[in-house]
């Protein structure tokens, strides 16, 4: 439309146009009549003819006026005004409907904001869709180099997570670090904000003591020193030069990373340091081509390893987009969550649709009047849809206000290190989602009542007295909606029930050790002080210094008040427990090429006693189990039963499959539990565990150990432990100080939040379902007052009336439950990965949830039923 025309239209004054037009036409008629009279027509007849030539003056003005108006917009605004007036006239209805929708849309918006942040919004790097991760597990640096030389489809980079002690400025602090290949930053495609990122020759021996800082580390650890680039800092007692600071918000491959150092491609790191691979697809290459190439190259690379790898190792190698990799199984969880809130929204929709249907019935007369006055069917449907979209938009607005609250909850689903780089926020896309959801729901729940209104028969509707009758058809629609609601509610409630059951199982599972009164902390001496491995390849003096340090810490801790025991381990249960592979002597099933795969711990002698893990046979480790003594191990019950069924394991021998020396089993301990909701990620717990003595480490016996302390006052120990260690050696940072209970509860936090959210969703669903049943039945009771009155006048008992109405609720609820059960059986499979110790088809849960739903349905119909039973037949009949 052209602008001046629009301008003229906007300036036009409708009323004056109309009056001008009227007087103009009046003048025309008179002139015409005058002419006819002049031609000899009688005056009276002339005026009649002239007027008739004009036709209906009203429709003529209407037509002329239309030239000046925006017809569609104008009638739309009229619809909106009218709709708002209708909504304001029944505030109770509006409030309930808006709140219902606000719950549904708010919950959806909250979940979608996380989906948006984690799954949709691209990583803040150039061409994020070309960035891929290689799913393999760690592999030796030399292996990575072989891959890099052979693979054509991906520009590969390697990295591993580590930690470095920053010293020389007050107390030593631990920095989360990533060792990365020199091309890491150029592969990702992000430049430094200050200085430079790594270049290819940063990996050459002698030049590798350079470091790049994250923006956050620069701010917090170096108080944003403007002269940071070029400055020398002490990391792990070695001097590094800061060459660059990355832009704010960049933290890769993990949110926690604070500094990056180049990987050193020299012995002994070449085969001793294990890295993960990621990269950028080269031009034209696809993910599936890259996977195929990696699969093809894998055997060549594994063939170059100096030790045999287990048969089939790495056959699962896969290339996946980095964004998906970073999100991991959160993806499924979030999508499930989105599905669940989608169901809640559907239930809300059908509830509001039912409310609208009930209202439409009482508005029949109004609509009939409007139809009689000439409103077209299309116009009436449009009016009703406008009203429901209006309702939905109000609900959407209220939902948006609720959303931040929900986002707080949903955010807890996301483990700290998986938080999206860009943060969860209400951005434009989320707003668009909320608006879209609102419009869609408005149309969805408005369509049935609107289409029904179209078929209203004007005459009987006008003739009928004010009271409306519940037509058979409307009853059918309403009943199906309520049954669908109940069924959807059943699905959600079953899901919640399963999750609650598995959370209960999880938190009541015996850990196999006594987690009460245990405190743990992580000690991280520098590599210079404790080189990885106490082994003979390392400097004996360093090794001695390291051993002395740990011994002194143990002695200091044990002498503190209230301490009952203390020990070291390379990791604690519920930590980042690692797998190892063992060959079993004289057992053809578990050889070096097809080894036994299980979790391993490297522990100090007092570990079992401190943790409260019972010794079942043989002995525990002693301080004499050192490098000079023969190698020994302790195995758990399950491992013993698998490797030597029916025999005593004491005296049998095993070895890590890549080592030469066999180690003798000296003891058997009881089983422990160390994993949570996703057993698939980790070694099969039924395989058991193997323990190595801390002074006879395996491939890279840890320089950094976890301290476990049993004490009568855990809270006090948590606040004390830092001082105790720093009195022994102030250069060793103490981090991750926690009670064991906290460790376990953090581990269960995500499942707890999932369960909590599902329970909340199904609670909302049940409440909405109850409201649906209640309103349908009370409506049916009130529209049948007369019929019930007649029945009672004819001798029906009050009890019978009560039963009949309750029966309606029973049928509605029962059908919903039956359909819901079938649907739940089909859908809960999706939950499998989030369940622990309970089957997705758990009969107990189904029965319990079904019973609960039936109770809700009967309760919701009880109140209208009582009202029906208390109808006074005389009043009811007189009412007509």
């Amino acid at each position: 439309m052209n602008f001046t025309r629009m301008w003229r239209r906007m300036r036009a004054n409708r009323d004056s146009i109309e009056s001008e037009l009227r007087s103009e036409m009046q003048q025309h008629i008179e002139l015409l009549a005058a002419r006819l009279i002049a031609e000899g027509t009688p005056a009276e007849e002339a005026r009649l003819i002239a007027r008739r030539r004009f036709g209906n003056p009203r429709s003529l003005t209407e037509e002329s006026r239309q030239a000046w108006s925006f017809p569609s917009l104008e009638s739309f605004l009229q619809d909106v005004r009218f709709g708002l007036r209708m909504l304001m006239r029944s505030p109770g209805f509006t409030l309930v409907a808006v709140l219902t929708l606000a719950l549904g849309i708010g919950a959806n918006t909250a979940v979608f904001s996380s989906v948006n942040a984690l799954l949709i919004r691209p990583l803040p790097v150039p061409n994020p869709d070309r960035l891929v991760s290689v799913y393999l597990s760690y592999l030796p640096m030399a292996g990575f180099r072989h891959f890099r030389e052979r693979v054509r489809t991906i520009d590969l980079a390697g990295f591993h997570y580590t930690g470095l002690n920053l010293s020389g400025q007050g107390e030593a602090v631990r920095l989360n670090a990533a060792g990365v290949s020199a091309n890491f930053f150029s592969v990702i495609g992000v430049r430094a904000a200050h200085g430079r990122a790594f270049e290819e020759d940063d990996s050459t021996p002698g030049r590798e003591h350079v470091v790049v800082l994250s923006h956050a580390a620069w701010q917090t650890r170096f108080s944003s020193d403007p002269g940071i680039v070029g400055r020398f800092i002490q990391l792990d007692d070695t001097t590094y030069q800061v060459v660059g600071v990355m832009p704010a918000g960049f933290s890769f491959p993990d949110r926690a990373v604070e500094v990056w150092t180049p990987l050193k491609f020299t012995d002994p790191d070449l085969w001793g340091t294990w890295v993960q691979m990621m990269g950028r697809l080269r031009d034209g290459a696809t993910v599936s081509q890259a996977t195929a190439e990696m699969k093809a190259v894998l055997p060549q690379v594994v063939g170059l390893f100096p030790y045999p790898m287990p048969q089939g190792w790495g056959s699962w190698i896969n290339v996946i987009p980095t964004q998906r990799r970073m999100v991991g199984d959160l993806r499924t969880k979030l999508l499930l969550m989105l599905g669940a809130v989608g169901l809640v929204l559907l239930i809300a929709c059908s509830n509001v649709a039912n409310m609208l249907l009930a209202r439409a019935a009482s508005r029949q007369r109004e609509i009939a009047v409007r139809t009689a006055l000439g409103a077209g069917q299309g116009r009436i449907v449009r009016q009703l849809i406008t009203e429901s979209v209006l309702l939905a938009l109000l609900g959407g607005g209220a939902g948006l206000a609720l959303a931040p609250l929900g986002m707080q909850l949903v955010r807890r689903l996301i483990p700290e290190d998986q938080l999206p780089v860009t943060g969860v926020s209400l951005d434009l896309r989320v707003l668009a989602f909320a608006a879209g959801a609102a419009m869609l729901t408005g149309i969805l729940f408005g369509i049935a009542p609107a289409l029904r209104a179209r078929r209203i028969n004007v005459e009987p509707a006008l003739r009928a007295s004010g009271r409306s009758s519940l037509s058979r058809e409307r009853r059918r629609i309403s009943s199906s909606l309520v049954i669908a609601e109940t069924a959807l509610g059943m699905v959600l409630a079953v899901a919640a029930g399963l999750l609650v059951r598995s959370l209960w199982q999880l938190s009541h599972e015996q850990t196999g050790f006594n987690p009460d009164a245990l405190v743990t902390a992580s000690l991280t001496p520098s590599v210079a002080m404790c080189p990885p491995g106490f082994g003979p390849t390392r400097a004996a003096t360093a090794s001695a210094r390291c051993t002395a340090f740990y011994d002194s810490v143990l002695a200091a801790v044990r002498s503190a008040a209230g301490v009952e025991g203390a020990a070291f381990a390379d990791d604690i249960p519920f930590g980042n427990n690692m797998n190892t592979v063992l060959a079993v002597e004289n057992n053809p099933q578990y050889t070096a090429n097809s080894p036994f795969q299980l979790m391993d711990f490297t522990v100090s002698p007092s570990y079992f006693q401190t943790m409260g893990i019972p010794l079942l046979a043989g002995r525990t480790f002693t301080d004499q189990d050192n490098l000079q003594a023969p190698g020994v191990v302790i195995v758990s019950r399950n491992m013993a039963r698998r490797a030597w069924p029916g025999q005593s394991p004491i005296g049998k021998r095993v070895k890590p499959s890549w080592m030469k020396e066999w180690r003798t089993v000296v003891g058997v301990v009881d089983e422990i539990r160390t994993f949570g909701m996703s057993p698939g990620d980790w070694a099969d717990p039924s395989m058991g565990f193997v323990y190595f003595p801390v002074r006879q480490g395996i491939v890279s016996p840890p320089a950094q150990l976890k301290l476990v302390i049993r004490t009568i006052d855990p809270a006090r120990m948590v606040s004390q432990i830092g001082d105790i260690v720093s009195r022994v050696n102030s250069t060793v940072p103490v981090t991750k100080i926690q009670t064991m209970q906290d460790v376990i509860s953090v581990f269960n936090a995500a499942p707890r939040t999932t369960t909590w959210l599902f329970t909340a969703f199904s609670g909302i669903a049940l409440a909405l379902g109850a409201v649906g049943i209640y309103s349908l039945i009370s409506y049916s009771v009130s529209s049948r007052t007369q019929e019930i009155g007649i029945r009672m006048a004819l001798g029906a008992e009050r009890g019978e009336v009560l039963r009949r109405v309750l029966g309606e609720g029973f049928v509605l609820g029962g059908s919903g439950i039956v359909i819901g059960t079938v649907a739940a059986l089909a859908v809960t499979r999706l939950l499998r990965n989030f369940l622990y110790g309970v089957q997705p088809t758990d009969a107990l849960t189904l029965v319990a949830v079904g019973a609960l739903l039936m109770l809700v349905a009967l309760l919701a119909s009880y109140f209208p039923a009582r009202r029906a039973a208390s109808i006074d037949p005389i009043t009811a009949l007189r009412y007509e």
Partner: protein, 112 residues
């Protein structure tokens, strides 16, 4: 719509053009326009009042004509319309395209 007096046929879009053309001779009120078209066409074309006024409103909105109140021949208040510069341009364009249409129709009639 313009109706041909003899038959009830309509030629859509021509009314606007005829009004513009009529106004190009000078300012005129609605009745005058209708009379004028009827006379000039030799009573072949009869303008229906029912379409005249909406058409005039359309032309006003588009800025092709201007309206002002004046006194009529019988000494009554009447609304007079004048052609604007834009209206004159529009008339040219419509006449040109009308000639094209007619030429096309004639070609069909002569060859078919």
């Amino acid at each position: 719509m313009v109706r041909f007096a003899s038959r009830n046929e309509m030629l859509p879009g021509t009314l606007d053009m005829l009004i513009l053309k009529t106004l190009s001779l000078g300012r005129m009120h609605g009745y005058g326009i209708a009379q004028r078209i009827q006379q000039v066409s030799g009573e072949v074309l009869q303008v229906e009042e029912g379409s005249l006024y909406p058409a005039l409103q359309r032309l006003l909105v588009n800025g092709w004509v201007r309206a002002e109140w004046g006194t009529s021949e019988n000494n009554r208040r009447a609304r007079y319309y004048t052609l604007t510069a834009a209206g004159r341009r529009q008339l040219g364009a419509e006449v040109a395209s009308f000639h094209e249409t007619i030429a096309g129709i004639l070609r069909v009639l002569e060859t078919a």
